[in-house]
């Protein structure tokens, strides 16, 4: 039994309205795309939509109380809320370096969660801290 799914492509301002036809989970066709990227996007959105997750974790002894973090690459969309819940429990100690791994292999996705910036203690702050 063939089913249709509609997506809005997010890759460029055209925002093509895409229609994907699948049968038993197998992608049969993608129409409405004006480029190859759109076709690929629709297929991925259907089979395994993925998103980069960004949030904050707590910091002790830092110039600021929170550290922004991000997944290095996209993780499955269905895991976003679980990932943020998991990260809501994380507290790290300053100083933290940009790119430092905060939580490796989040929820078994193989994707690390890393710090998005340097965050110093008030004493150690350089030009990115209090003068």
């Amino acid at each position: 039994m063939a089913s249709k799914h509609e997506y809005t492509c997010i890759n460029c301002p055209m925002s093509c309205a895409l229609e994907l036809v699948e049968e038993n989970g197998e992608v049969k066709s993608v129409t409405g795309a004006q480029c190859k990227v759109g076709e690929k996007y629709a297929a991925e959105e259907f089979t395994d939509p993925r998103r980069v997750v960004t949030t904050t974790v707590g910091v002790r002894h830092g110039l600021l109380p929170l550290l922004p973090v991000r997944t290095t690459t996209a993780i499955p969309r269905r895991l976003i809320l679980d990932a943020t819940r998991r990260l809501a429990e994380v507290v790290v100690d300053a100083p933290v370096r940009n790119g430092q791994v905060i939580v490796p292999d989040i929820l078994g996705t193989g994707v690390d969660v890393i710090a998005s910036r340097d965050l110093d203690t008030p004493a150690g702050a350089g030009v990115s801290g209090v003068v």
Binding site: T56, G58, L66, T84, R85, A88, E89
Partner: protein, 525 residues
């Protein structure tokens, strides 16, 4: 020497005079009374002085021209206006006497008159007759210094006034003052001289014995007092009824005004400007375009009857009405320069006049009720009249030798020279930390307001004392910082900081708590 603002201290068992209501009337009376005795207690149910009608007052110290001859309010307005400079002396309050330009336009006379007259006659009436009527009316009411202006003279003074203007009358005694700053200054000076102020204290009953006032019952305790002054504004009828001294009803009437960006509208008008509409329906004087004491332009107010004594909502229609009314008078008005709107409830009686008298039904109870406009302008004269009544009730008639009329004011960074600022910063580095960029207010001033004579407990109280949040960004930049300082200085968690008391919390909690709460909910299921 030196009274106090009691946060959580118990009420005294008794007082010589209790004043109910810390609006402009109550505070004016309090200061006046404190010249003669320090045994005076002021009560208000709100978290701050001037926290209801007075804070939304639009700052006009009227000359008295707009009030009906023969009314008490008109008499007290003219007298009060004359007394104003002396009234604010020593308080550190700015009174701007920039005058009122009353503009006569084709709309001044109603259609019922102009509809059937030839155009030339209408024009002659408007140009020659109406201005003289206004002057004559003014003279009758005892208003000094009014002059007639020609069209050209109007445009020279106020280039933005509509070219439809035909003639004008300039009223030089009219002025502007910050109503809540004045009320606060009066209260602080009274406290400085021994008066006691209890905020967040609501009067629930008044006990009368043998036809005389015996005590005031509040939600925090009872005070025995032989003299009670009812200056409770919108609730003055309820308070009077508690003492069996009622017989009048307050008909709340709300009014909204709009405020504009100071940088864009600072010199738009030099004096207040209003359009004269004769025989116009309604109980308000029609408002005008006013350059406030702080330099922002203000348009308004409206006048709308309301049944709800706390209804300070502003409708889309009201905002449109204000623009429509003033668009005729000032056609190139920069509408997009709006930064804020505010609204308040007036407290008129059905008779539309002040009630200032010692009650005949309950001895010792003095009503100061129905104080709508010109309550601000009349304040000095109201206080004078009331102290006269109080002398008759037993308040000492000899002024105290130790009364200090000068209220010390904290330094205002935005008004100081560079060197003066340096001196302050060297002594207290918090003067070098700007919290509110738009109004140039420092952390030190915010801290000072929180620990002042009448301590600021919430964001709006800090705002009224320091102007933090009143500028073009309306608190966008400074809101968090202000809340943080309040929390720190008062030793409370930031989640307990409110905008203006009661349930007006600003932060729901810390960021992870909602998720943690959710997780706990799920775990418990």
């Amino acid at each position: 020497m030196g009274g106090s603002i009691q946060q959580s201290a118990p009420l005294p068992e008794s007082a010589g005079v209790v004043i109910i209501g810390a609006g402009i009337s109550g505070c004016s009376i309090a200061r006046e009374v404190s010249r003669y005795t320090d045994d005076v207690v002021i009560l208000d149910k709100e978290p701050d002085v001037a926290d209801e009608t007075t804070k939304a007052n639009n700052a006009e110290v009227h000359s008295g021209i707009g009030e009906k001859t023969g009314t008490l309010k008109q008499k007290l307005n003219v007298k009060g206006n004359r007394m104003y400079d002396e009234f604010v002396e020593g308080l550190g309050i700015v009174l701007k006497r920039q005058g009122l330009l009353i503009v006569i336009t084709p709309r001044t006379l109603p259609d019922s008159i102009t509809g059937w007259l030839p155009k030339r006659v209408v024009h002659w009436l408007l140009e020659k007759v109406v201005p003289r009527l206004v002057i004559r009316n003014g003279k009758k009411k005892g208003i000094p210094g009014q002059t007639i202006l020609s069209r050209e003279e109007i445009f020279e003074r106020e280039p933005h006034v509509t070219r439809n203007a035909i003639a004008g009358v300039f009223d030089p005694t009219y002025g502007l003052v910050s109503p809540y700053k004045l009320a606060m200054a009066l209260a602080e000076n009274a406290i400085q001289n021994g008066a006691k102020l209890f905020l967040d204290t609501e009067v629930t009953d008044i006990k009368v014995e043998d036809g005389a006032v015996a005590s005031v019952v509040t939600d925090r305790g009872e005070i025995r007092a032989p003299i009670v002054v009812n200056a409770a504004g919108v609730f003055s009828d309820k308070v009077a009824d508690m003492a069996g001294a009622g017989g009048f009803e307050i008909h709340p009437r709300k009014g909204a005004s709009l405020l504009f960006d100071r940088d864009i509208t600072a010199d738009y008008v030099h004096s207040s400007v209003a359009e004269f509409r004769m025989f116009h329906k309604g109980h308000s004087k029609g408002g005008g375009a006013m350059p406030t004491a702080e330099g922002n332009l203000q348009l308004g107010p409206t006048a709308i009857e309301t049944g709800d004594r706390y209804d300070t909502s502003i409708s889309a229609e009201e905002i449109e009405e204000i623009f429509e009314r003033f668009y005729y008078l000032l056609p190139d008005f920069p509408r997009s320069a709006i930064i804020s709107a505010f609204s308040g409830i007036r407290a008129p009686t059905a008779e539309e006049d002040f009630i200032i008298e010692a009650s005949e039904k309950t001895r010792g109870f003095v009503n100061v009720a129905g104080i709508q406009s010109p309550g601000l302008a009349a304040a000095p004269a109201v206080a004078e009249m009331v102290i006269g009544i109080l002398h008759g009730l037993g308040v000492p008639t000899t002024p105290r030798a130790d009364f200090d009329p000068v209220r010390p004011t904290p330094p205002k960074f935005s008004e100081l020279t560079e060197d003066e600022r340096d001196v302050l910063i060297e002594d207290d580095p918090a003067f070098g930390h700007i919290i509110c960029r738009c109004e140039t207010v420092t952390e030190a001033e915010v801290v000072s307001a929180i620990h002042g004579t009448i301590p600021a407990k919430n964001m709006d109280m800090v705002k009224r004392r320091t102007r933090v949040g009143m500028g073009r960004c309306q608190g966008g930049f400074c809101g968090f910082r202000c809340a943080e300082i309040i929390a720190r200085e008062r030793g409370i968690p930031i989640t307990e900081v409110t905008k203006d008391g009661g349930d007006s919390w600003v932060f729901a909690g810390e960021t992870k708590h909602l998720l943690a709460a959710e997780a706990t909910d799920e775990a418990e299921q």
